[in-house]
Assembly symmetry: C2
Homo-oligomer: 343 residues x 2
DNA sequence: AAATTAGTTGCAATCGATTGCGTTTTATTA
DNA sequence: TAATAAAACGCAATCGATTGCAACTAATTT
């Protein structure tokens, strides 16, 4: 069979140039100890022969795979896929590649994936927790073996971890306050699982805003959803609207369920935002499509991915002392649209 | 430093059990040539010590990375991210991992990524072409080196390649025919770059339906868009509606631009679907959100990912003769919603 | 009991790149 | 010119798992 590019190794180059493989390796890596002429000759031949270094061999020897593992709940969600897009961009820029796994929001899959990623010798992991994750000891598989982890978005409730996230408390506070400013007098909250810090924080941010403005905090209109799916959004909306004292505002912890709230309310002939103002979270593309357009909290997904990679690089390649940094908090912004704008 | 799990190798196990590393390796791989007692002892100790095989070493030796490379335009698009989700699921099932790269629809990035993926020794590549790709010779880097490629969705105009796709001609034909059945008398088409087979096929499918029903094929309302973005959707809609003979139907090659068409038309007070019927393509989630809801062509993204992995496995692991199969065509279906339903 | 067979296990090379250390060659200084 | 320093390069081990072949032990046959 014809000899193909992938068969070209440093040994082949070495032989053809009558130098040692060491020299070839050093020349290609711009090692200072190699003469200019040799260096050029090696590089020239490498190009000519279509030589491509074997990353597997290199990784094995150096014990660095230059691979970043990603673990998320589902790839096909607007926020997540944008996050991943940001990670891939930044990683490629830095010469890293990216292995993706999804947990489907299941803890056991999360654990399994962790094993696989570990066996793949990833250099670092960027992870957003599954909905079911409440304990974090399974991550020790990586940390015990000195593989850094950067948590993004759905982060654990732990100190001294590397993380990139938003201030969910503040974002929720502002979102709720916006509803209050628009004159809402009774504001419901559709939150996610309180096991997840992000949802807990949104909940407390919401409560804090109510308290600040002397609103009653009524647990009967504070819902804890399982997954904030479209279906659940319908169900929850129906539920709160059927209460004796239905809310005139909803702060929903994601856009998917918020859109369902809009659609349900509309189907019941309820005027939005005047009778019911609705605020989402994430600023997914659908916010601008649904009618009325959905107010939401802008969540810098792409940037979050980039920052996560930055953290990874700092830990992996930066000076020792830079590693103490244990968190980046990104800005959010309430985007006001028709679903809450009573102006 | 304390010895951590990742430091455990077959040599450590071998030493502790007073057997050779070969025996350990064979035992762990269930090689028939190893006695039952030894096999069990090895496995037991491996578990006890938290042994994890080093995939890099294994891959280097066997020349199989068990990694599937993915190359797509953008990860953060509904269709693509769902496709990837399907690939990841099926790949994990089969014991493969997945490396992701995005081309941002640029040919030069596509070429670069190909190099990187090649150097990573991927076992196979699943790719959807960038918008700019019209020649395919850069893929020879992989094929020359016997790395199989399965093309999905945006496939090259070539014979004898492995591919998973839909019948774009038929889908477009049916979509257009549906518009005709709804009484549209003048149907515009917003297509993508004709360099891409999928868009060319949708175009010819559209034309063919027109022809079958004795409609005039008017090039002035057959648009070739650059990227079918939301902005472009607006622009194109504005353009055709300002013509002397504006269309009363639009068949758009994606949903993003179709939604823009809806929004633009509505803003001009044009009744949908009665004055203007609009048909999209892909059946993205926004189809159900926009008002009126958007008719579209359902595109089995998840399944496409799974089938692509199936093809990969067939090529990589199946018997020689099964490899001749050079294409899977998946079913599409026109989903009728309010944007075209004049019933 | 000797001979044959089957069943287990070890030896050592291999995958391709990297790297500490030693050696050779060239340049510099006395 | 001899001695010293510097520059360039090679040797050989290494990363961890796999595998063809040989060797050894135990079981079976005659």
């Amino acid at each position: 069979m014809k000899k193909t590019n992938s068969d070209v190794t440093i040994y082949d180059l070495a032989e053809e140039l009558n130098v040692s493989p060491s020299t070839v390796s050093r020349a290609l890596n711009n090692n200072k100890g190699i003469g200019k002429k040799t260096k050029n000759a090696v590089k020239k031949l490498a190009k000519k022969r279509g030589y491509r270094p074997n990353k597997l061999a290199s990784s094995l020897r150096t014990n660095k795979s230059n691979t970043i593992g990603i673990m998320v709940s589902w790839i096909n969600r607007p926020f997540i896929s944008t996050l991943i897009s940001g990670i891939e961009n930044a990683a490629k820029e830095a010469g890293y590649q990216v292995i993706i796994t999804q947990t489907q929001d299941k803890l056991d899959i999360e654990i399994e994936n962790l094993q696989t990623l570990f066996e793949s010798r990833i250099s670092a992991l960027i992870v957003s927790l599954s909905m079911e994750t409440k304990k974090y000891n399974h991550f020790s598989l990586l940390t015990d073996n000195h593989i850094p982890i950067v948590y993004v978005d759905r982060i654990p409730a732990l100190k001294d971890i590397h993380k990139v996230h938003i201030d969910n408390f503040k974002a929720a506070f502002e979102a709720t306050e916006h509803l209050i400013e628009q004159g809402c007098e009774r504001i419901a909250h559709f939150g996610g699982s309180r096991l997840q810090l992000i949802y807990e924080d949104r909940r407390t941010g919401y409560i804090s805003a109510l308290t600040k403005h002397n609103y009653e905090v009524d647990e009967s209109i504070i819902m804890e959803a399982n997954n904030l799916s479209a279906e659940e959004g319908f169900r929850l909306t129906e539920f709160v609207l059927n209460l004796d004292h239905p809310p005139d505002g909803i702060f929903c912890a994601n856009d998917t369920a918020a859109v369902s709230a809009i659609r349900f309310a509309k189907s019941k002939g309820i005027a939005i935002p005047d009778e019911l103002a609705i605020m989402g979270f994430n600023n997914d593309p659908i916010c601008e499509i649904v009618e009325p357009q959905l107010s939401s909290v802008r969540h810098p997904a792409l940037q979050m991915g980039e920052k996560a990679v930055e953290q990874v690089l700092r830990i992996l390649e930066g000076p020792e002392e830079s590693v103490v940094s244990n968190g980046v908090t990104l800005d959010t912004r309430v985007i006001v649209r028709s679903s809450t704008d009573r102006g």
